[in-house]
Amino acid sequence: MASILDSNTVLQHPATEETHDEHTSELHNEQVSEGDSDCDVSDGLTHGYQNAESGSEESVEGNKEDPLRFEAIQKIERLALSFLEQLAGSLPNQRADITSIGISQIPINSRSKYPKIELQLADRHKTSECIRVIRYPLKRKGASIKPFAQILRVMDFAHQALVDNVPLTKRDMYYKDVPLFKAQGTVDRLVDDLACDIGPRTGRPQNCNLFRAASKGLICGTGLTIHLLEGKVISINDLEGTLIPTGEAIERFELKEDISWVLVVEKEAVFQTLCRFQFASHQSLPGPGLIITGKGYPDVATRQLVKTLSDNLPAHIPIVALVDGDAYGLDILSVYKYGSHSLRHENEKLAAKRIEWLGIWASEIADLEIDLDTLIPITLHDEKKALAVLSRATDVVPTKWRKELTRMLHIRRKAEIEILSGSSSQKSNSLIHYLAHKVCHFIEMSA
């Protein structure tokens, strides 16, 4: 099933999705065949997202039509009311003429011997408009209040998130009440079903558009084509970044040319600079490559992409990362390479073991003819973070990282990528020169 939902799906108000869906479906109708003229689709998506990138993520959501958000809020409230009414109606001395309003209605007078409460939710997994019912009491030995407790809690979180207009992921929800949910999967299922119920109807129940992963990672380069489920194709180019789709949406990758290297950069500004210089196809490199940025700490989609490349590209194609030579940069690299601290149970699926630290190293500053005094002094935060990273187990902090962090602590200064493009450096375009040389080095060493 073409589900693009995963445990990191962000609960956005549906408006964003409506717009994009309309956009893409329009393009689809115009096209001769699916997968053909795919540059139109991807351009549309890219431009849509690119425009969004100019502002903050909040503005993306805030600018969209609020009526749809309010509609979702209302639907949740109605569902809650329906539950309350049934609860009230199931009490012994209930008047029979109370009618319940809301999506799911059960005639109160058709009561069986035992009072019954039902909440009906759309079932994503069926092709027709089937409904899934959460019943109380259940015909089983254990407590049957739990499903209700869980769905109500999910509704509560969802409602709050919509009201506050704050993104909320399924993972966040799970961690808000682990004893209640017990497993991530429970939250996932409930959120998905709820989404179908309160989201806009698009005629295909399994294509619930309410929740979309708000991916933020970008990729540029040539020679890679991403085939999505449902036939969409994303071609990337070396002039501008393309938004990285979530792993679940991807059917397969197609590597066309002889990609020679993969570079992950921490900062979006660096990424944009490299795009401007078309670094991915730069002549001083022995072959074309891919440049990826997670814009700081990478989201799941970005990590999935890097991991896929790490697992599938041959060993002579290096995967390297350009991060600041401080504890935060290394922490970000650590997320790519070993997985994030909080998600240790998922790390096997997302760790890109092959990625290496290309730079920038405090120890190479002298070689680059950069004056040590031009480096930024470290703050107390830097120091604390560095000590925290250094205190982690040795198998998640390679010796090279240790040495560089210790050096940073000693000289009380940190090497940031910006120094390469600053006026203190001798050569013009020194960032490009530095990267080209380093990438060549890693290519040779990987051969």
């Binding site: 002549q283 001083s284 002579h316 120890s363 010796t399 240790r402 602590l409 040389h437």
Partner: protein, 341 residues
């Protein structure tokens, strides 16, 4: 200057230069009385601004021409240790490969942009006709023993054999299937050429027909970094992983392997003695007797450095090495192995 605060062992370790040092901290040098004094290089040639990837001894046994990632070639004097003239600068980017003509008058270089240039070794001037044809960088070059042809191997996986006088491609592109053609060596007999590839294989081709005659010889453990023919063209030496393997060039059967501590990047045969020199990742720098297969040195003659290229002078007197430190080192073979006459 001593670190005043944070004076922990961790800091001490961090302050050592670690550009070449392997991950584990270097153990203290054991004061072993039976260790032979390590010989020091006679000369160090300093000047290149980037890795020295390849070099050749000229026939006069006095000069070396080196090619570097800095895009230049430099001519050095072994007696004085100095640069001769100015660096030879040309277009095309990093130099990945060099080959000397049999008459010693021309050196060919292979560039990042896939071009092959020829330079006069006396004047240091480039010969006008630059050859293109490879779509990726030229990684290997070999001159035919009679001087009529130059073969070039590239990252694009092909071999081109060009006629020297016309510059025309006489054979090729030979699609090796080896991914990158890292090494290319004509047999001394001139009728065969051996190629070593990224895909960890060796192929031996007929130079007239371009057909594969031996191979692909597989299971070499890592991509092939260096190849040599024995003087009668009967054997092929290959460096790939930590073993240097010797093959019968007619059958492709392995005859022997020399074991090292780490990956081997370059090998050279002495023109005078039965000595094989092998260098590679830090800790790999050894001389072997090719008859008895015994090692000639008790410890590596260079330590803690990655070495990429090794070569003997024509008279077998000198041995030169280059690596990632932008320098070349010149050794006197007799100082290293006194028992050789």
């Amino acid at each position: 200057m001593s670190p005043e605060f944070l004076a922990t062992p961790i800091i001490e370790e961090a302050m050592t230069s670690d550009s070449e040092v392997p991950a584990t901290p270097a153990p203290e040098e054991a004061q072993d009385p039976t260790q032979i004094e390590k010989s020091a290089p006679k000369q160090e040639f300093v000047g290149h601004e980037d890795y020295v990837w390849a070099f050749v001894f000229l026939h006069d046994n006095i000069h070396i021409v080196s090619g570097s990632w800095d895009g230049t070639m430099r001519k050095w004097n072994c007696d004085t240790g100095l640069l001769v003239g100015q660096p030879w600068t040309g277009k095309g980017g990093c130099i990945h490969a060099l080959a000397l003509s049999p008459d010693g008058k021309t050196v060919a270089c292979g560039r990042m942009d896939g071009s092959v240039q020829r330079w006069n070794t006396d004047s240091g001037k480039m010969i006008e006709d630059v050859w293109t044809g490879h779509s990726r960088e030229v990684r290997s070059l070999s001159w035919s023993p009679n001087g009529d042809h130059i073969a070039s191997g590239s990252r694009d996986g092909t071999i081109l054999i060009r006629k020297l006088d016309s510059g025309q491609t006489e054979m090729g592109p030979i699609k090796t299937g080896q991914r990158w053609v890292n090494v290319l060596v004509y047999s001394p007999s001139g009728d065969k050429i051996a190629s070593g590839g990224l895909n960890e294989t060796i192929c031996i081709w007929d130079t007239k027909t371009g057909e594969l005659v031996i191979g692909p010889i597989e299971e070499l453990g890592a991509s092939v970094t260096s190849l040599l023919w024995s003087s009668e063209s009967k054997k092929v030496y290959a460096a790939s992983d930590k073993f240097v393997r010797v093959f019968n060039s007619n059958s492709g059967i392995e005859l022997h392997r020399f074991e090292h501590n780490d990956l081997v990047n370059s090998i050279a045969l002495s023109p005078k003695h039965n000595v094989l020199a092998c260098v590679g990742q830090p800790g790999v720098a050894q001389l072997w007797d090719t008859e008895s297969y015994e090692p000639l040195l008790r410890q590596p003659f260079i330590d803690r450095q990655t070495l990429r290229c090794i070569s003997f002078s024509r008279d077998g007197r000198y041995l030169a090495s280059s690596g990632l430190d932008k320098k070349l080192a010149l050794w006197v073979v007799k100082d290293m192995v006194p028992e050789l006459t």
